[in-house]
Symmetry: C2
Subunit: 183 residues, 2 copies
Amino acid sequence: MKMSPLVTSAVMHFGEMGSRWGFNRTVGQMLALIVLHEEPLAAQEIADALSISRGNTSMGLKELQSWQLIKQHHVPGERKEFYIPAGSIWVLANRVFEERRKREIDPTLSLLRDLMMESPNSEQDSNVQARLNEIHDLLESVTAWSQELQNLGPDKLATLMKLGAGVGRILELKDKLLPGKSA
Amino acid sequence: MKMSPLVTSAVMHFGEMGSRWGFNRTVGQMLALIVLHEEPLAAQEIADALSISRGNTSMGLKELQSWQLIKQHHVPGERKEFYIPAGSIWVLANRVFEERRKREIDPTLSLLRDLMMESPNSEQDSNVQARLNEIHDLLESVTAWSQELQNLGPDKLATLMKLGAGVGRILELKDKLLPGKSA
DNA sequence: TTAAACTTTCAGTAATTTCTGAAACTTCAG
DNA sequence: CTGAAGTTTCAGAAATTACTGAAAGTTTAA
């Protein structure tokens, strides 16, 4: 499996970005390769294409599976496993988003809840707790909201996005239309 | 400046999370400390409270300023600089969001645009370009959308969030109300 | 059961990132 | 000017993270 220059550029770039997206360079490269290659790929092919060890490849595949970004694809008559993307680009983007929320927000929410339970030992600490509470509420809103958006599904989400600046106007309309639900 | 146990827990946690949020441990700790401490803090106080070197502190402050998360606060009669948060929790969260978009999405958008310009050297590459195009469009939507949301400002954003699942219904209403803008 | 084909694990090494502390720099009062 | 009070820079050390490759593990066909 030899990568065309086009694929190579893309794969290299996704490698560099990988670390910013929550996984490391090689995992990023592997994901790009699997997504861009329409044929299912075997672990050894991936290792060869990217010039990385078989062991590292195995760990990377495990990680991508734990993120639910790729899945195994069994080819009848073949002993080895092949790998393909776990869904459309939209699905993959959602998974990344979701997984990052779990890693980046949830633990903090949980800590903040704990810290807010403790009764303050000083005037100072009372103020600190108020601040922490503010952060907590913000993170909770973000979490709830992002889950809402995901529940809408890609189609409605696209509608909402295309609406763009129109959202503001809709919000104003809304108040007149659903007076019971003032917010 | 001695941190209370409450502040210590929070600061330590934000340090751990820091790396997931795009900066490193000490920078995360510094941010937490500055946000939770209502008095302006001097560099030396921060270094002492966190037991880190003065040099590292200086670099961290520089980074937090480049993210626009803290700003200098000059106290008349004092030679040294003090630091305070650059705004409310909401503002800070927006800044982090914005900055991460710049680092995590923009470079990829730019590369994808370049790769799509090149005329494909093969059938294969044509397909790859189509995939890349799909990714490009998705990232562009996300970017546009997140900018829209930020332009709404915290108040309307809160309204939208409280709306929660109601968003779906509003979308349906919308089609009947603004028939010109089908999406 | 055996052995071939393949995968996973993990101890040690390599690469990368972060941190320190000393030196260089800046600013200001006298 | 001079020096005190402060800040920044950056080379090298320390800490962290990623990678390799050999050994152990698994699965299947015969």
